[in-house]
């Protein structure tokens, strides 16, 4: 089951420790400008901090525009830039709808998130729980759950279990309407 990186922006504190971890992992240096994840910090209006990194698109625009075929999907669906085939034309940087491919003035080729080979460092250092590395099928589950939990027509009953007050919520069909 392929795992993917995902973000809960409202949890991000803007500390950018993820950027440090990324640059250490990939370039053996401390340099947020060489990180494949970047925290965009916007204020005072709107107020949001959002880490931007590659979502490993199923139909990657970056690969589509690459004239050299240097951008390929590996067996886990991770999009990789093969530096030896890349000429540094920067088309992919402009083509990415999320701005998740990066350039640095000291490097000849662009770089992007490779999920650290399946164990992303950024997630490990995120102390606010804004970054997650989860199987693809989990995506959207939070929203599905909260959608269900906030269903308006739930019934509630209170009961006591071993002296402790509890509550049961349930959806009840009620008087069956004849709607056919």
């Amino acid at each position: 089951m392929p795992k993917r990186l995902t973000v809960t922006p409202e949890r991000c504190s803007g500390c950018k420790t993820c950027e440090i971890a990324c640059s250490i992992k990939h370039f053996k240096v401390i340099n947020p400008k060489k990180s494949a994840i970047r925290v965009m910090v916007l204020y005072p209006n709107p107020i949001i901090r959002m880490p931007i990194m590659c979502g490993q698109c199923k139909k990657p625009k970056c690969a589509e525009v690459c004239r050299k075929g240097a951008i390929k999907k590996d067996e886990n669906g991770v999009i990789l830039i093969h530096a030896e085939e890349c000429v540094g034309c920067q088309m992919c940087v402009k083509a990415c709808p999320f701005g998740a491919i990066y350039l640095h003035e000291s490097l000849d080729t662009p770089f992007k998130c490779d999920l650290c080979g399946g164990d992303p460092e950024c997630v490990k250092v995120c102390a606010n729980g804004a970054l997650h590395f989860v199987p693809e099928h989990i995506f959207g589950q939070d929203h599905r759950m909260s959608n269900v939990l906030s269903y308006m027509n739930m019934k509630e009953m209170e009961y006591t279990l071993q002296g402790e007050k509890k509550q049961l919520r349930y959806a009840e069909i009620g008087d069956k309407k004849n709607d056919d």
Partner: protein, 499 residues
């Protein structure tokens, strides 16, 4: 971080730009860009306009507001929205140079001698912090936790430092911030997992739409309880206004408190105050006064010159201005702690807790001698500035008890120069002595090392420390011992030729 990545440890700006400009540092390219359009702009508008001018949203910025341009003596330098070089009027220094903003882009690798070692030490410190029992609590409330603590201990500045307990502090504390939905997010400094900052928004009422990175303990105490204001939304508004105008919330709250007391006790007349009454708890009047300080209008023009300016025009205020060496006292009432009085009295910059904050330790357990107090203050005055020298925060050490020795380990890993904590403290002590000597050169002597008059003359009115004030005779003894331990003479002057 940007500045370090651009390749600089610090900036020295000499001279003055002919017209209002911003300093643009793009790695090794440095230019002074005239931009008169910035005149009178708020700090945040300045950030936005310069970023637009440069066409780069991600440059890091240090800016001043209109108060800095107008040379308000407690104007601050705002850095990337929320963080300020708040005290001692550095914003006015920048303003005097016609520099409205410093914009920096740095893209170099950080020079690190031994990356593996640094990662190892950092990982250890990081794991310690994240596994600390108070870690999530700290992320949730940060320094706002100090409100309840200070009030319980009885050293919360209240009604211009007259009292140490604010009976409406529950309307200003962390619970109020969370329960009223003011806090919308955590905020962290670069590379810090603790994220002690809070982003607050006022969602309804007359201050609706106000957003600020903060407020934190000092701001809430100085713009809240110290002014008798019990409305958290009003404090958020005050914080935002101070940020926009570019004035220090501590000095601002301190001096507005003085004006409120002076007006109500008759030390200043309504005419002195441009016929605008300002009573305890009057948030609107306080906000209005902030504008007038920043624009140097009427009484605002006098307050804008800080304690020194106010005392020059109204010497009768000496009795009620809490200051040391002309710097307005920060939000810890030291009347119950001789060590805190000594910390304020002997701090090189004046009545601020940055150099030493021994009050918690002294109030925690008894059995304090002057020897122990002096030792503690000197240890703080040595260790705490060391954090500033290293360019790191002291809060992991203070709040979550991170072992201070790890900083020496990090220093060694980064620089390649082996140093123990003691080695670094020795350097720090040396610098403290040098700083003292600079002061001495400019006339600093024993008479400047005393706590504010209020601390020695008016006792705390209520709470745990009721009746406490600093006994001057005892303070003299403590000061003698402090000087002796420092190796300074009776006037507080370091020996000749040693440093």
């Amino acid at each position: 971080m940007e500045i370090r990545q651009a390749g600089y440890d610090c900036l020295v700006i000499t001279g003055r730009a002919p017209e209002l400009s911003y300093l643009w540092i793009d790695n090794d390219q440095v230019s002074i860009v005239p931009f008169p359009k910035l005149k009178g702009k708020s700090a945040l508008d300045t950030e936005r306009l310069v970023r637009e001018h440069l066409g780069d949203h991600t440059v890091s910025m240090a800016v001043i507001g209109p108060a800095g341009e107008n040379l308000v003596r407690f104007a601050c330098i705002n850095v990337d929205w929320g963080r300020n070089a708040g005290r001692t009027g550095m914003g006015a220094v920048l303003g005097s140079k016609n520099i409205k903003a410093i914009a920096i882009r740095g893209s170099n690798d950080l020079p690190v001698h031994d990356l593996n070692r640094l990662v190892q030490v950092s990982q250890k410190a990081y794991d310690y912090l994240r596994n600390h029992d108070l870690f999530t609590f700290w992320q949730k409330v940060g320094l706002m936790s100090v409100i309840d603590y200070a009030n319980e201990q009885g050293f919360m500045p209240t009604y211009n430092f007259r009292d140490g307990v604010f009976d409406k502090s529950h309307k200003l504390n962390a619970d109020e911030m969370i329960n009223q939905g003011h806090k919308i997010n955590d905020s962290a400094c670069f590379a810090c997992p603790m994220s002690c900052g809070n982003v607050c928004v006022v969602k309804n009422g007359k201050y609706a739409g106000t957003a600020v990175e903060g407020p934190e303990y000092e701001t809430v105490a100085m713009l809240g309880s110290n002014l008798g204001i019990d409305d958290y939304a009003a404090v958020i508004k005050g914080n935002q206004l101070c940020d926009e105008l570019g004035i220090d919330t501590i000095s601002t709250g301190n001096l507005i408190g003085v004006i409120m007391e002076a007006y109500q006790s008759g030390l200043l007349t309504i005419e002195d105050l441009d016929n605008k009454p300002i009573e305890w708890g009057n948030a609107e009047a306080a906000l209005d006064l902030m504008h007038r300080i920043s624009n140097r209008e009427g009484i605002g023009n006098v307050i804008a010159d800080g304690t020194q300016g106010l005392l020059k025009k109204y010497p009768q205020l000496e009795r009620i201005i809490s200051h040391v060496k002309g710097l307005e006292q920060s939000a810890y009432d030291g009347r119950g702690s001789m060590a805190m009085a000594l910390a304020y009295g002997t701090s090189d910059i004046g009545a601020h807790h940055t150099r030493a904050w021994p009050i918690a330790q002294e109030l925690e357990k008894g059995d304090w001698t002057h020897e122990k107090r002096a030792d503690l203050v000197i240890y703080h005055q040595t260790l705490r500035p060391l954090f500033d020298m290293l360019g790191v925060c002291r809060l992991p050490w203070i709040e979550l008890k991170l072992d201070e020795h790890c900083y020496a380990e990090m220093y060694s890993a980064v620089t390649g120069k082996e140093a123990t904590l003691d080695d670094l403290l020795e350097k720090s002590k040396h610098i403290y002595n040098l700083t003292r000597l600079i002061g001495v050169k400019h006339g600093l002597t024993r008479q400047h090392d005393y706590p504010p008059q209020r601390m020695t003359q008016d006792a705390v009115q209520t709470g745990k420390l009721q009746g406490c004030k600093i006994d001057l005779e005892e303070y003299e003894k403590l000061l003698d011992i402090y000087y002796q331990k420092r190796g300074w003479d009776k006037k507080g002057i370091p020996p000749k030729g040693k440093y």
